[in-house]
């Protein structure tokens, strides 16, 4: 716990310093805030900055081929941030799901609905947690083990990516 993951979208002149492919996925905090400062100085154009606070990947029984990943995603920038997907080596596909809740016969019926994308407003955050949103890791390539670390790459509409490392826990 305690690790934060940033993407840093800065206006054009600053991004141009990094050739494509060389751009690191994970920015150390000091570097990220440094670049944010550069961005501010360079002209105040709107940008989105994603910050992820890790949650966990749910340990599921080995018979289950799907699991859920939880984290908090924050947009520290001044432009909307749109999450369009994610990928991980441990699953064939990752989809964004929102929990669905309705009442039938006086009781709570639960389910989930896939979302094509998820917007995080400027200065806003979205919590992926049980009963709210989750990233569904579909078609696990192998059973996960308690305590192992799963790397997830979040993909945003602006082309930026954010790598997050989540522990596998039974909770």
């Amino acid at each position: 716990m305690g690790h934060l993951y940033f993407t840093c979208r800065v206006p054009f002149p600053a991004t141009a310093w990094y050739p494509k492919g060389v751009k690191p996925l994970l920015w150390p905090r000091s570097l990220a805030s440094g670049l944010t400062l550069v961005g501010l100085l360079l002209g105040g154009a709107a940008w989105a900055q994603a910050l992820a606070t890790p949650g966990w990947v749910r340990l599921v029984p080995p018979v289950v081929k799907d699991t859920a990943a939880y984290l908090t995603l924050e947009n520290r920038g001044s432009a909307p941030l749109r999450l369009v997907g994610a990928e991980t080596e441990v699953a064939q596909r990752v989809s964004i799901h929102m929990d669905h809740r309705e009442h039938r016969g006086g009781q709570v019926v639960l389910g989930m609905r896939p979302l094509p994308h998820l917007d995080i407003p400027p200065k806003g955050k979205v919590e992926f947690r049980p009963g709210k949103y989750h990233l569904m890791l579909e078609g696990l390539r192998r059973p996960l083990k308690a305590g192992e670390k799963v790397t997830l790459v979040l993909k945003f509409q602006d082309g930026s990516r954010l790598k997050v490392i989540l522990p596998v826990e039974m909770r």
């Binding site: 018979v63 639960l110 609905r113």
Partner: protein, 196 residues
């Protein structure tokens, strides 16, 4: 004249004190939803080793949750809550409690798969399922709704389902926990111990 307002106040205080003394001592106020008219329930479903009848557990408190295995968010959340509550009971109490997971997705979940799924939460949990017709009948008995959604192809769909935990004592449905309530382990434990 000045002392007069004291009389009614003392009278009210006296009545409150009497009412308090008349309160039944030690009665448990249930956190889950208590059924005022307990409903007789029974079923025969398929377990990993053949048919299982609810009345086989006549002497136990049976906690029943309907779900499906390809459900990574809702079902584990409740099953983990049931695991916490079950593991909070003493070994003696545990002997008198049975947690049952019933898959409403018999197309994908065989009795074996349902049971392996349930046992991953606690080895004493039991996973059951049955033919689509039997599941439909059992669901109707408990007032459980389930519906396939987001159908992408055979074996690729989601299922919406009632996420209530049902508590059966001596063949009667006596208590319900909504998916929100079931997470309050301490309060669930209190209810279970009151029923044991």
């Amino acid at each position: 004249m000045k002392a007069k307002p004291l009389v009614p106040i003392l009278l009210v205080l006296g009545l409150v004190a009497v009412a308090y003394l008349l309160l039944p001592k030690g009665s448990h106020s249930f956190y889950g939803t208590r059924l005022l008219n307990p409903k007789p329930v029974d079923f025969v479903l398929e377990g990993p080793q053949g048919p299982v009848r609810l009345s086989d557990f006549q002497d136990k408190l049976v906690l029943i949750f309907f779900g499906y295995v390809h459900c990574p968010d809702v079902c584990p959340t409740t099953l983990l809550a049931l695991k916490r509550a079950y593991e909070g009971l003493s070994p003696k109490e545990q002997e008198r409690v049975q947690v049952v997971f019933i898959s409403v997705d018999p197309e994908r979940d065989t009795p074996g798969v349902s049971d392996q799924y349930a046992k991953a939460f606690n080895p004493s949990f039991l996973g059951l399922t049955g033919s689509p017709e039997t599941i439909q009948e059992v669901a109707r008995t408990f007032g459980v709704y389930y519906q396939k959604t987001q159908y992408r192809g055979p074996g690729e769909y989601l299922v919406d389902h009632t996420a209530t935990t049902f508590v059966v004592k001596e063949g009667q449905l006596v208590l319900l926990f909504s998916p929100d309530k079931v997470e309050e382990t301490e309060k669930v434990l209190g209810d279970l111990q009151a029923l044991l």
